[in-house]
């Protein structure tokens, strides 16, 4: 990740901890957000999409599953659409 993506990743982690109640110490850039990783589901993704839209003005409506894989992929998606 480049410098801009790292900054975005840090902000995304803050947002996820605040809005989804994830413990900060387990949320790394690489850990999968869904399934065996953090264990989020599609309902949590709605909150995540709303938080990202509000913070960065990036709409993730209709986006496939790939950008939601982990914080790194989210940061890369946001950085390329900001």
């Amino acid at each position: 990740m480049n410098e801009q993506e790292l900054k975005i990743a840090e902000k995304i982690k803050e947002l996820l901890c605040e809005s989804l109640g994830i413990e900060a110490d387990v949320l790394t850039n690489e850990i999968p957000l869904f399934g065996d990783g953090i264990g989020l589901d599609s309902i949590d993704s709605l909150e995540m999409i709303a938080a990202i839209d509000k913070e960065f003005g990036v709409s993730m409506t209709g986006v496939g599953k790939e950008p939601f894989y982990n914080v790194e992929s989210l940061a890369k998606y946001v950085a390329s659409h900001i």
Partner: protein, 213 residues
Amino acid sequence: MRKGIKKAAELLLRGFVRVVWAIWTLLTWTAYRPRIVYEDETVKKRLESEPCILASNHTSHHDGSFIPQVLFKCPLNVVVTKKWYDKKAFNWMFRNLKYISIDLDSMSSEWIEKAEAALRRGESVLIFPAGKLVTDGTLGELHPGFLMLAKFTDAPVIPLISRGGYRIFRRQELIVGSEIAFDVHMKGRPSVVMREGTEVCKKQMEKMLNRQN
């Protein structure tokens, strides 16, 4: 020129769909003789004056037309699965009436944006939280998307029960419950908090389902 013809054709189709809908509404009222029961009389006025999220049981494909036809005074947008929305036989109608497509197999939040827009326009949204037909006499498992919609819009959630089996010339009953008492803004992970909310909603709907006249 072509654009003009296309636009005129769209307007014509929209007009045609509305006429078909009006005739269908008359047939519904004749064939199913709907009986609407309000558990809370204040909800009747609320439905006609403020946007609400209506969460209903789903025992027949008729539900998606019956409920908006019965509650015709309340402009309703119906959330329908993409599988049905995209069927050629129905898509022309869904596109020209107030139907919102939901893709249950993807993480797309398009439906929630459309439903939010409808609520902000002052229209209500009807959703079947089971996401499929449940014909075993239970409500099935309820999915919490409708509560997320309530969280994003602050619209009240009103439970509905349609019962009677859609038998011609027998009364089909629509029970309208009181607003679900659950704080959708409760702190915590939405997938956990909203599941608690669906349980609250389910209990209330089960009481309505088993209500004696």
